[in-house]
Symmetry: C2
Subunit: 650 residues, 2 copies
């Protein structure tokens, strides 16, 4: 395959039963994967063994970082059109020492202000509605879910068919229809019970040996409990429940029915709807609660588990609940699934488009398995944080402040504050951090230019880009910089250009260096570059990258034809003025530069992966250094030798 | 009819050809009117003489205040899903004195920061897309537009049928289908050529005798003109054009083809598509422009005109372009139409629901005709502001500041700044101001309590409520207070309750006074009050009003069961903590109180009309005074005698 082939051309010839990918399961992980790949032009076979999308119940929590992602995919308006509940605070209720019944011991913010989130709340919406939003987006790209179909077998044979090495047997659930298809990749988003995982004989490791039986009930209630519209953790003499508000006046209650630490533990222990309601009534005393309608009720045993591998051959992959299960308490299931899918989507794309070595796919498991392990560890830690004692109001207040301090007034490390901050970062999704590797620069990365990692910058490789507001020059729109490039599968290269008067030579040199034959820019130009519409905003030169240029200047003072060299000026919708005041850096002239910790005069270059995580940061100086540093970085995982150094070796 | 009848019951009996209202024309004015009335339960016949909604061209500018309104109706997400262009700045281009061709003389903000707007931009979206959003909302309420049908005649006879006095003859445009229906009201949203207006023999007054022929072209262009994504006013030696960006990479050009001040003036003068493009090319020199596609092209003569009456009998009404025509330059047509419709909708509702005297309907013409006259005056003034000289950059900068000053550095009144501010307020829609009448309190209003109009408050009767952010107590959501009550046809009564410790007695007395038999509260209770769902958020007691209570307190410190008397606590989704910092009042503890100019300790009561305009402001003090003041206010236009004073007279 031509490495510079555009994605739309990747499947050709007599290919009626050949697909780029076969996706099993139309839950959050499978749907987000398909949505990305369908938008980028791949041919998809997507099946699900249910006759229709989720009707009731199941996951419902969208964390702040996931909402950013859905917005970046253009799906947030559809989410918000359903008027989901938004959880800004969590309330804690405990038995009262003086009176009978429960009393509130405190509340804390879901996403306190020390996290610089666009949407400091958790969005609660029924999984079925979320699935339908993806399905309708897929339909716009010609993909529909084939239902109710199931997978009956698969095998990979690279020798027999190096292009479409995976053979997959599919069957209608009634056993009447059968189909055998060939694919480049197979993905299991089947959930906890995964046929693919079983066939691959991949084991599940149980981090925490404790298992629980949970009862969960969605319904409409009438109650005088004052926090029924907040997320609540309620402990009482009669047991514990968790309250989660929902759309359409609904509320979800989680109740722990049995635990493997119980003397009479049985994973088969169950409870009726009536028993759960009676139990909830006792727990909520002195408040009353009555059900007007129960939408969904389920009892299920669940233990913490993590798949030992996410893939064996880098052709058949798994993600979501097929790889990790845990308690529903922290509301992380769907969010972790989304990020599994996004992580895999762009890596498949970069391999298939000929940008990256096939070995890029190895980083899917190494990056995402670490996150799942962190999730499982967190799950246990989060419970422990509250099992000891309710947090004092002053601790929560101190911990919620907009600062990086983890020391208390006596200068001592406060363990509560530290754990609190970590858990807020974790539950918000802003805490996801990938370890150093070829994608996430660290001092041990092959790229060793001394321009890399300039002193003072506040970005962290493997973490998402810091949010900032800037003014788009062409139309004076105030925009959210981190949202400006859609999820288009491209690397996002932000050139913070400082003051035009200080950096014009550096910017000029940057562009001259891009033009060199061996640069990452010149090496991955679109083959159809001469016929690209002048309205193309994001990928006029290449699907490998999109450029943004941000000046420390008032919008009206930026004149694109004068201040921006032609290659960067071609991205005319991605030229910005850093002229919007920000409460977090009130004294800065250029708030976005300042928030990133980049020099406001001289700027710097920030490379962000297609999934939004920072890859590398370099200085912006005169000469070829900055582009050479990027060549070194990209060259470490790209298909071509990049940069002066490397070509000298050829 | 029972005055407390709910709107859903207003049509009954043998009513197959009887309607609450017949609406002619499915443009912005007719659609917004129908959408409101359909939501409030009225039976509607809505016809349009076109076979389908607007396909191309026509109005496209949604001003900031209209976007607030559409959001308040829940329609903003659907607007934004179309990814409209947003105009934040207007650029001015003039002939250069030194070189050939045009050069930019300056830019100014569409909605500068001295206007406290949620959305400081104009939203540009094709009228057809906007129409479809309303049509789809109407369909949810069982109303579909009957097309292509036209009106052939109508007459009003209150004696023959006092309930449905208007008889309307409708006909399919092919003349084959005919229908005669009876209605309580008839509304003409027919546009500039109105059959209804002609039949009523209502004349058009021409404020400015000058008429123009305009050419307008929507299309996709390729150009190096740097401001093609901004709104531009371009003067050159070769003529003048106005540039307006659109969705989907389109741009609209307005070009003045002839003026009645020309020597060879003819309203029939025209121009071809090619002539307009050639003319644009000359005007834009030294920049180039080429058309890739023309979506719409039209040449039409238009003069300023205003209908002498908006109604004759308060049964047959007109609104929108049927009442006022003017140049398209300020982008006000659709916005004025929306507000015409909203103004009429709630007044019809309050009369039909039995809340207000029928004379309330007289205020439709008096309020909206004044706005149309202001629009026509503004239209002329706006042109004059720029015909003299381009504004100096420093004047625009000074004028855009966040202050009420209209004086320059020498302390002199600066006419430019004054006119600039007025015009920004006008074009943003934030400047709409209704004159004093029974709805908009002034010292000459019959309500004369000395609690009315407390010193220091910054609200202006007849103007919209000032925007503010607060925290909703039940779910800790940070919300936009002015948006919290949807367009539900109800009066919005905001009780700013100051500090709970200072105002608890006053709040208690307020509720006790509401309970009195002759209060506006007790007089307009819902007849079905005992069967109202406890999930009803806005109208548990009455469709006449919705209450909001706002405390100067941290959210966590408000305990509804302790701090809020039961009647107000019933609106549990409308209890707020005024604890969100605001950049405009950085030193305030309670920013919303401070922005309204209400005492942060003691609060105050703000009554906002169902269309969002402030009606009256009173102090919140102990005793029955505040409710008595509201009784006096409402009693001036309601169907019942309200308050102690009035009942004493009976």
């Amino acid at each position: 395959m031509d490495p510079n082939m555009t994605p739309h051309e990747t499947v050709h010839g007599d290919v009626s039963n050949k697909y780029d990918i076969v996706v099993i399961g139309a839950g959050p992980v499978g749907l987000l994967l398909s949505t990305c790949l369908a938008r980028w032009g791949y041919k998809i076979k997507h099946i699900d063994n249910r006759p229709e999308p989720t009707k009731t119940g199941r996951a419902d929590g969208i964390q702040p970082r996931s909402l950013d992602l859905l917005r970046n995919m253009g799906l947030k308006p559809a989410i918000m059109a359903h008027e989901p509940a938004k959880v800004y605070e969590v309330a804690f209720w405990d038995p009262s020492s003086t009176e009978s019944g429960i009393h509130r011991t405190g509340t804390w913010a879901s996403c306190p202000s020390f996290i610089d989130a666009r949407y400091p709340f958790t969005t609660l919406l029924h999984q079925g509605l979320i699935e339908r939003i993806f399905i309708s987006d897929l339909e716009k790209n010609g993909v529909s879910i084939q239902r109710p179909w199931t997978i009956k077998g698969f095998k990979t044979d690279e020798k027999a068919d190096p292009e479409f090495p995976v053979e997959v047997d599919l069957e209608h659930v009634d056993g009447k229809g059968k189909e055998t298809v060939r694919a480049r990749y197979l993905f299991s988003g089947e959930g906890a019970r995964s046929f693919v995982r079983d066939q691959l004989k991949i084991g599940i490791k149980h981090k925490d040996p404790i298992a629980h039986v949970w009862g969960v009930m969605d319904g409409v209630v009438k109650t005088d409990f004052p926090d029924i519209k907040m997320k609540c953790t309620i402990h009482s003499e009669h047991g514990s429940i968790m309250v989660i508000p929902r759309e359409n006046d609904m509320v979800r209650l989680y109740i722990q029915i049995a635990s493997s630490t119980d003397k009479d533990w049985s994973p088969r222990k169950t409870a009726t709807e009536q028993e759960v309601q009676d139990s909830a009534k006792r727990i909520l005393e002195p408040y009353s609660i009555e059900w007007e309608r129960v939408e969904w009720f389920s009892v299920y045993p669940i233990g913490q588990g993590i798949a030992e591998k996410y893939t064996l051959d880098h052709r058949v992959f798994m993600g979501g609940d097929a790889c990790h299960t845990h308690s529903p308490k922290a509301g992380q299931g769907m969010n972790t699934a989304f990020l599994d899918a996004l992580n895999l989507a762009w890596k498949i794309h970069h391999v298939q488009a000929g940008f990256a070595d096939r070995s890029l796919l190895e980083s899917y498991e190494s990056e995402r398995k670490l996150i799942a392990e962190n999730l499982l560890n967190f799950d246990a830690k989060y419970a422990a944080l509250f099992s000891q004692r309710p947090p004092a109001a002053k601790d929560v207040a101190a911990a919620s402040q907009q600062s990086d301090k983890t020391q208390d007034s006596r200068g001592e490390e406060n363990q509560f504050i530290k754990t609190f901050k970590e858990s807020c970062e974790f539950t918000s999704g802003y805490g996801v951090a990938y370890d150093p590797n070829l994608l996430n620069w660290s001092p041990s990365h092959p790229a060793q230019s001394n321009l890399i990692n300039p002193s003072g910058h506040k970005l962290r490789t493997g973490r998402i880009l810091i949010n900032s507001n800037v003014t788009r020059v062409v139309d004076a729109n105030v925009v959210h910089l981190e949202q400006e490039i859609p999820v288009n599968g491209s690397y996002r290269i932000y050139i913070f250009a400082g003051r035009p008067s200080s950096s014009s030579k550096a910017l000029q040199d940057f562009v001259e260096s891009l033009k060199k034959k061996s640069s990452f820019f010149s090496s991955y130009l679109r083959p159809d570059i001469d016929s690209v519409s002048h309205h193309e905003r994001h990928n006029p030169h290449s699907h490998f990258f999109t450029f943004c240029t941000i000046f420390n200047s008032k919008r009206g003072d930026v004149e694109i034809s004068r201040d921006v060299p032609p290659i960067l000026a071609r991205y005319r919708d991605h030229i910005y003025a850093d002229d919007i005041w920000d409460q977090r850096v009130p004294d800065a002239t250029a708030a976005a530069h300042a928030k990133m910790g980049l020099n406001e005069e001289k700027g710097g270059v920030v490379v962000v992966r297609p999934d939004g995580y920072v890859g590398i940061v370099t200085s912006l100086v005169e000469g070829s250094g900055p582009v050479e540093a990027l060549n070194e970085y990209f060259g470490s995982f790209c298909t071509k030798k990049l940069g002066e150094k490397n070509t000298a070796h050829l």
